[in-house]
């Protein structure tokens, strides 16, 4: 158990340090998410009438596609520079590496989600500071990171990785997107647990199942 967390935290701290140095991931993903929001704004005309309908959709499209961009980075540098091998050589069970990468990806996603909140607040006047919305954003980001970390490791080893990652990730992310959009709609409308409960429960179930499964199958991806 100690070895597991030692390894996971080592990987996590290393990635945080790298990101703090280059600041590459947060800036690119944040800017990209912003652009997605603007494009979808023009596509869907977010006037006050339509906002209640399209608001949640725009939010989650932005988070999903920004998320994919962020996921790409989990392993692309490691693979390109060869440092992925350094991780394989470690006397560590592979699920520890998964956990480290998962925590790093989740952190990145949460930071971007937070950065986007002012955008939704000011440009669309959406009540995103509601407690339930934040809960849903957290749970959904966890789900994205759980599944995305695993599939990012797969995609990086395929011939057409920029295409393979969305193909692998999006079908898997569907339950999260459905729950997040529906839950966000409820949250922004101020509805309580009676309406939101089922979505939150679904997200929690998703997160739990896929963190466990991804941990277990990760060795299959990073093995020799």
């Amino acid at each position: 158990m100690r070895a597991y967390w030692r390894g996971a935290l080592a990987v996590y701290r290393k990635d945080l340090l790298l990101e703090a140095r280059s600041k590459e991931a947060v800036s690119t993903v944040a800017v990209f998410s912003l652009l997605v929001v603007f494009i979808f704004s023009f596509a869907f005309d977010p006037s006050p009438r339509t906002l209640a309908l399209v608001g949640p959709g725009i939010i989650w499209v932005s988070y999903t596609f920004g998320g994919i961009l962020g996921l790409n980075r989990a392993f692309s540098h490691e693979k390109d520079k060869g440092t992925l091998e350094g991780l394989v050589l470690a006397p560590l069970s592979k699920d520890a590496i998964y956990m480290g990468k998962f925590m790093g990806t989740l952190t990145l996603m949460l930071i971007v989600e937070l950065l986007m909140l002012p955008v939704f607040l000011f440009f669309f006047d959406l009540n995103v500071l509601s407690f339930w919305f934040l809960v849903i954003a957290l749970l959904a980001a966890t789900g994205f990171a759980a599944v995305g970390t695993l599939f990012s490791a797969i995609a990086v080893n395929t011939r057409s990785r920029e295409v393979m990652l969305p193909l692998l990730f999006l079908p898997m992310a569907l339950p999260v997107v459905i729950a997040a959009v529906a839950g966000t709609e409820d949250a922004l409308a101020g509805r309580g647990w009676a309406a939101l409960g089922q979505w939150v429960q679904l997200l929690i179930a998703y997160d739990f199942i896929f963190i466990v499964l991804s941990s277990l199958t990760f060795e299959f991806v990073l093995e020799e």
Binding site: V147, L150, I154, N157, T158, R159, S160, M164, L167, L168, P171, M172, L174, P175, I178, A179, A182, Q198, W199, L202, A205, Y206, I209, F210, L213, S214, T217, F220, V221, E223
Partner: protein, 237 residues
Amino acid sequence: MASAQQVRQRSFTGVAGLGLLVIVAILLLVDLALIFLWAPTELVLGEVQRIFYLHVPSALVGFMAFAVVAVGSVGYFWKRTAKWDRLAHSAVEVGVMFFTVALISGAIWAKPVWGTWWTWDPQLTTTFVLWVVYLVYLMVRAYVPSKDQAARYSAVIGIMGFPLVLLVYRAAELWAGIHPGTVVGPGAESDALDKDISLVFTFSLATFTLLFVYLLWQRVLVHKAEETVEELRASIK
């Protein structure tokens, strides 16, 4: 070199395969006859309802295939022997076919009945997602440099797909729940079935299942043969 026993085994496989093919072919013909000549015309929907005998069995068999994929993937993950991977791979290939039929027939049914080609009811949504997962499974195998990686990565997809299917179904169900009236679909036909319709449906399902077994078996054999050829090639060098 093949032992006498292996040669005998292969001839048995060949004969048994042929036998099964004949049986399946006959059953399919009988099935068609039943569907178009014997089954009663449904009161509400009319002739187009006969598609039901094609659509639902295809979808169910597609899901059956996925059970095989999940088993094969877990088996490969656990035992790491090629036969599990072959099983999963073949099941995906056959399953994709059945799902394609299910999706198209579902659309053909939906249009005259509900005026729309597609609905997001839980069953169709789940079928569609699984169909996409199958395609991604096959793409990953094609886009990966080594066979070993292909087997491992697709086993991961096969394993992850199982809870995904359940979660997608649940999510779509909940979503349909809060959007009543906008989501109807072929799956909504769950009322008690007329005895004769039930009979033909069951016969159809059995036939399709047998067809699935036959195709799966043959596909596994083809994969095995391909692997044998590769091994021979490698050992010649």
